[in-house]
Amino acid sequence: MNAPANGSDRVIEVRGLRNQFGAQVVHEGLDLDVRRGEIVGVVGGSGSGKSVLLRSIIGLNRPAAGSVRLLGTDMMKAGDEERIAVERRCGVLFQNGALFSSLSVADNVMVPMREHHDLPLALMQRFAALKIALAGLPPDAGAKFPAQLSGGMVKRAALARAIALDPDILFLDEPTAGLDPIGAAAFDQLILTLRESLGLTVFLITHDLDTLYTICDRVAVLSQKRVLVADTLDKVERCDDAWVQEYFQGPRGRAAERAVSSSKRIAAYAAPTRN
């Protein structure tokens, strides 16, 4: 949609990242690239620092060492104004939605619009309604408060807020956790659709193998304090690390793979002439 800032197609560039809390080192020499328009899934065991990585990239956690470049800007060295300009181009979906509980869904979506743009109220309400619809919520959801929403609707409302300013990069922290399989599959499809139509780059943390197989272009495995491998699923599966093998070749991994490959076959039969 927009031209890359400096000719590079890497929208996220993490180099030599080191995070540590007290004596406990979470990341050490971590490198990761995310290219424009792709969906990258980050996996790793509990406590491997997936959320810390996300927080480091979006600037909520200052790493002990290393650099993070977002959309070509070095976030460690950038001035306040420059950093805010980049942050406006990022949308974040937190694990539990993090909707403001005192505001209705529509007001939640309007918060970033109010803060960063000088829009008339009526126009803002129309844009908010549009985002709410794009996130797959019914129109009457806008007037509801977060406490009145189900788990799946909270995620969608939070997604609507995350895309309020048409971000270039969308960060998702376990987007399908706590959703039923139908809701999770629908959410996966929604992210795919938004990526196609809005030209988003998506960085997502997940434990959901179905999500990995369905929507991720590349998978980054976080292990031993760094990114062990970041590549397409086929290649990651062939990585001969014990943890990776157990993750993808365990009973759940195989089931997810089977399900996805068979559904892809069915899709191929059903629409053989598409494009």
Partner: protein, 369 residues
């Protein structure tokens, strides 16, 4: 950075075309929306739009393009932008206006009625809850196995011991202030020595216990509401129930019993420090020496007044703990609800404490104590 978006009408051979150019993004939306509205007013949605000159397009811009021309009327889009416009068109934007704002006399009456109803409901709920607590207390009192001593000790420390410094300081200062007031008023009558009586009466009968109750309502009643409320919103109360335990027994009784012990003890300390504060002012600015203060104090029949004051402490404790815990149980879901109920808990506790104090004053006056 490219220029802000524009929409210009151009008359061509095959009808009028709107040429869109520049950035059609949310930043340019206010200006664009006005232009679009003006064009649409004059020409309806029958215009065609040439969008090939657009530098940047986002969903907000796409929405405005659609307002101008409808889904089929936008030309000059590449595949990506076509997908964006289609997605926006597909998202069924049934804009619901905000609910009509009600104002004026009707709303005033409605809110007054709702508030009155709420007060009645709160009162009946509180009575019901007090009954429940008393029944649970009666059930547990004679079964030592069900006494939660650890929890009781913890709450004793939190509500009692930790509150001592602030209670002492506050009452000491108020005691000094009352002594100054007494000195000023009584000097005209040459009766400054009666300041001792003033301090004794006021602190033993009223101030000591009432100030403590108000402090504890703000300090511990609110804490009870916030603790139980956040447990409620995180489903911990439900977990307690499913484990076969009684939330009233587990959560309310230790807090209630702790306050029943702590508040009278604090009230006693409050009386002492208030009187010391008064005595200090007497000694420093009125030539009433501490010895003289104590002697006069003895003539006061102080024990009687002391018991009048102390008799109110357990009642305040019981009410503050009950209100605090009940408000906690009323919390629903959100963090905001915790805040609302904490406020309500403090307001109710202080109101009830002062109300009961006034009733007690009338009662003791009537029976001539």
């Amino acid at each position: 950075m490219s220029a802000a978006g524009t929409a210009t009408l151009r008359h061509g051979q095959d009808g009028d075309v709107v040429v869109a150019a520049g950035d059609w993004t949310i930043a340019a939306a206010p200006v664009l929306a006005a232009e679009v509205a003006a064009l649409a007013r004059r020409h309806g949605r029958s215009l065609r739009v040439d969008a090939s000159g657009i530098a940047r397009l986002d969903t907000s811009g796409a929405r405005l393009l659609l307002d101008l021309a409808g889904e089929r009327g936008v030309d000059g889009l590449d595949a990506t932008r076509r997908a964006l416009v289609d997605a926006v068109a597909e998202a069924d934007v049934a804009v619901k206006g905000p609910p009509p704002a009600d104002g004026g006399l009707v709303a005033l009456l409605a809110r007054t009625g709702a508030a009155a109803e709420q007060v009645a409901r709160d009162a009946s709920q509180l009575l019901g809850f007090i009954g429940l607590v008393l029944a649970t207390l009666a059930r547990c009192l004679f079964v030592p196995r069900r006494w939660r001593l650890t929890s009781l000790a913890f709450h004793l420390e939190q509500t009692g011991l930790d509150a001592v410094p602030i209670v002492v300081l506050l009452n000491f200062l108020v005691g000094a202030v009352v002594a100054f007031l007494g000195a000023t008023v009584l000097k005209d009558f040459g009766a400054t020595v009666f300041t001792v009586e003033l301090i004794g009466y006021s602190f033993l009968r009223e101030f000591g216990v009432l100030l403590t109750a108000i402090l504890i309502a703000g300090r511990s009643g609110s804490a009870f509401t916030a603790q139980i409320g956040s447990m409620k919103s995180r489903e911990e109360i439900d977990a307690i129930r499913t484990l076969g335990l009684d939330p009233v027994e587990v959560l309310v009784l230790p807090r209630l019993l702790a306050l029943l012990v702590a508040l009278p003890a604090l009230a006693f300390i409050a009386m002492l420090s208030g009187i010391v504060g008064g005595a200090l002012v007497c000694a420093l600015s009125m030539d009433i020496s501490p010895t003289m203060f104590v002697t006069r104090f003895h003539d006061l029949a102080a024990t009687r007044h002391f018991w009048v004051g102390m008799s109110k402490a357990p009642i305040f404790a019981f009410l503050i703990a009950s209100i605090g815990c009940l408000e906690g149980f009323k919390v629903s879901g959100s963090a905001e609800s915790v805040g609302t109920h904490t406020t309500s808990s403090v307001v109710q506790s202080i109101f009830v404490a002062i109300l009961v104090d006034a009733l007690a004053a009338i009662f003791y006056m009537e029976i001539d104590v």
